[in-house]
């Protein structure tokens, strides 16, 4: 037992880590690993549809019947040479077995595929009925069979990044996300402060107002998008009101979401409205921290409400402003759901929607990862700049 006697502190540490293990493991698996994987995939041409190509279970008889046009029960009627004459290993593996090959794999198949042994097994009925592609290749490759056991995406170096910088849609979507943050973050932060100050004042029914301000934040963005789709539509309520008021000045109803130069701003307005309430809570907490004695002192010195707001409230909310503007920027640069639901024109998409489209619709996972890496770098830099500009003080 002597060897196992650990120091108390070590024991304590082990127990601590054991308790924290579920969180540590899940963070490693669902956060740290994917981040590094994205970096890796950004340097490859990862094809999600091919990730399992060596794991498919194939039916060699079926594949050969398909390739030769000869059913297995008829195969004995032909000689080995007759069958071999019409056998093309690369075509067989690609089309009939159903495994897409890259250039090096093609070369290997061309050189080392044991056509004769496969065909003779086919004639003599000795083929396995069903097996995995990887096992099949191990069996019928004279060498390098192990190269066909696991999908390894092709390493393309910085090719994806080069493509990105000549991709017009990248610039458009990136600029849109940037513009979106530039407009939304300041307005939503200011609005959140105003809402917080209002909610912090001692008026009747303050709880009701707090709840109303916060309501959009806890509503699903899909539901909000649907509601705004109706509001913004050409025969929608907003147009009806505007026409009623400004109709006599020649106002024409606008199809907000389909008008390329307006759509993004319409979505910005919706987002400011829905997130301001959420950040209001942060500022409310900040406001409660400001001692009332400071306001009393200011009052005695003859400061008015406006001066107190700009000279006391705003500076003392600095930590919250840093937090909200950083979180807001990160959220805005990554804005996705409203764009996904409401935007129909590629001119108005944002970068994260473009990432999604590339990854899941176009099947260009490597390219999408590279876009994600760039977005990550930009957000990191923006956050660092913000921290420098608005210094934290405690």
């Amino acid at each position: 037992m002597k060897g196992l006697r650990l120091k108390y502190r070590t024991k304590e540490a082990i127990v601590g880590y054991l308790f924290a293990a579920p969180v540590i493991v899940s963070v490693l698996v669902f956060a740290i690993y994917p981040i590094f994987a994205a970096f890796y995939y950004s340097l490859t041409d990862y094809q999600p549809l091919e990730a399992r190509k060596f794991m498919y279970v194939v039916d060699p008889y079926g594949a050969l019947e398909l390739h030769t046009g000869i059913l297995r029960e008829e195969a004995g009627n032909y000689t080995l040479d007759e069958l071999l004459a019409n056998f093309d290993p690369i075509q067989f593996v690609q089309l009939d077995l159903g495994v897409n090959l890259d250039d090096t794999e093609k070369e290997l198949v061309k050189r080392y595929f044991d056509s004769a042994s496969l065909i003779s097994d086919f004639r003599e009925g000795k083929l396995p009925e069903r097996l995995k592609v990887s096992e099949f290749m191990k069996r019928y490759m004279r060498a390098y069979g192990h190269k066909f056991s696991k999908y390894v995406p092709k390493f393309v170096g910085l090719q994806n990044f080069e493509d990105i910088f000549s991709d017009k849609l990248f610039y458009t979507s990136f600029w849109n996300a940037f513009l979106y943050s530039l407009v939304v973050v300041p307005i939503q932060t200011l609005l959140a402060i105003i809402l917080a100050v209002a909610a912090n004042s001692k008026i009747k029914g303050v709880g009701f107002f707090k709840a109303v301000f916060f309501l959009p934040a806890i509503t699903s963005s899909a539901a909000l998008s649907m509601v705004f789709m109706l509001l913004y539509s050409k025969p929608g309520v907003i147009n009806k009101i505007l026409v009623a008021i400004f109709g006599k000045f020649g106002f024409q109803p606008i199809d907000y979401l389909n008008e390329p130069s307006i759509a993004l701003f319409a979505i910005m307005a919706m987002n400011i409205w829905s997130t301001a309430g959420y950040f209001m809570v942060t500022f409310l907490a900040g406001l409660q921290d400001i001692p009332s004695s400071i306001y009393e002192a200011a009052k005695i010195d003859g400061a008015n409400k406006f001066q107190m707001f700009w000279k006391i409230t705003m500076p003392l909310l600095r930590p919250q402003i840093v937090f909200v503007s950083i979180m807001g920027t990160i959220g805005c640069m990554q804005v996705f759901d409203q764009i996904y639901f409401l935007v129909r024109n590629l001119r108005n998409i944002t970068i994260s929607y473009y990432i999604y489209k590339n990854a899941f619709e176009y099947g260009k996972m490597g390219y999408a990862s590279a876009l994600a890496v760039i977005l990550f770098a930009v957000i990191l830099i923006l956050s660092l700049i913000q921290r420098k500009l608005i210094k934290e003080q405690y």
């Binding site: 999600p48 398909l66 159903g98 389909n258 590629l346 619709e361």
Partner: protein, 406 residues
Amino acid sequence: MRRLLTVFFAVWVVVGLFAVVRITISGWPGNPVEEATIKRAVDTFNNTIGKQKGIEVVWEPIAGDYKQVLMTRLSGGTGPDLFYVDVYVFEELARANVLLPLDTYVKRDNFDLNDFYPSLIEAFKYQNRLYGIAKDFSTLALWFNKEIFDKYKVPYLTNDETWDSFLKKLQQLKAAGFETPLALAPDFNRIIPFIISFGGRLVKPDLSTALGEPNSKKAIQFYIDLVTKYKVAKEPSALGSGWLGEALATEKCAVAMEGPWTIGFMRGSFPDTFKKMGIVEMPKGIKKATMIYTVAWSINRATPNRDAAWEVLKFLVTEGQRIFVEGAGVLASRKSIAAQDKDPVKQVFYKGAEYGVPWRVPTPTGIFSIANDQIGSLLKDLFAGKLTVDQAVKIIEDNYNNWVKK
């Protein structure tokens, strides 16, 4: 302990004896009428062939972005056994080797492919292998609201309409006070019949884009002019509708080019408007043209139950198709079933099969989805008057090769 084991063993044996092969079939969810029909087809199979052969079919529709979800599930190895493949994405999936070639099954069972319209069989062939069997097909025709035409005293549209006479009637409607006679969608596939009938083509023999050729360009110009120059057309969203059929059903427009899927929709939800509808063939230019949309049933290459999946597929395109044609108002891809389909409303759509072109744009890589998105986006700009057709065509010509590359 031993007793527990015995119970386990008994349960295992019982389950094993009555085990059935489960075949999951997937597609996009249809309207309530279509959903009811597919459920009826599934039940019919489960109660007849399924019972004999120990196969149970489960219909699991994928709501939302069908292609994205399907591709993600296929890459994760959790794809359905049998699923819809739209001809428009067919080549992309076939090239990715996720579909099972059906030739051996067809040969072994002597499955009669000659009963299908040849263009629909060809549509699902890649490298001379058959990867799917058309479940049905649709074409576009010209729908119009007779009541509105009566009210504004404009003669009905006919089967021999040319683009000029068609435009004239729309202009008469507008002049008589009907604000938006036509609903048009800014989707590339909707322009294709215009391009073909104007004598244009989609791609050159070397598969580069032919949209810049004079006839193709003229067709695009005409399509956009309907919206921006003659102002007789608007897109459905500008009319407060989700799609063309809805705009037509809610009488926000008088004319639209729609497919037979609108029949089931209108009969179910707008039976009164449906009675006012006239349906004629698409207007023609130099020649007749319409779109053929078709969707196949294909088998997942990774399915462990290929033979069972094939049994289900066979049912779905034979007996199952009969159920669909009767229930959901689709057009039969099988000539023998089409011959029995006497629904007078559908005849004009069947006629389109003679001269229509399938919705499949050949590209060197089989990928058209990026180009389709980009062109669709340009069309939105064109509808909004942000671009001229010349500018848009220039953008397409300059970038097309990038859009269709791997």
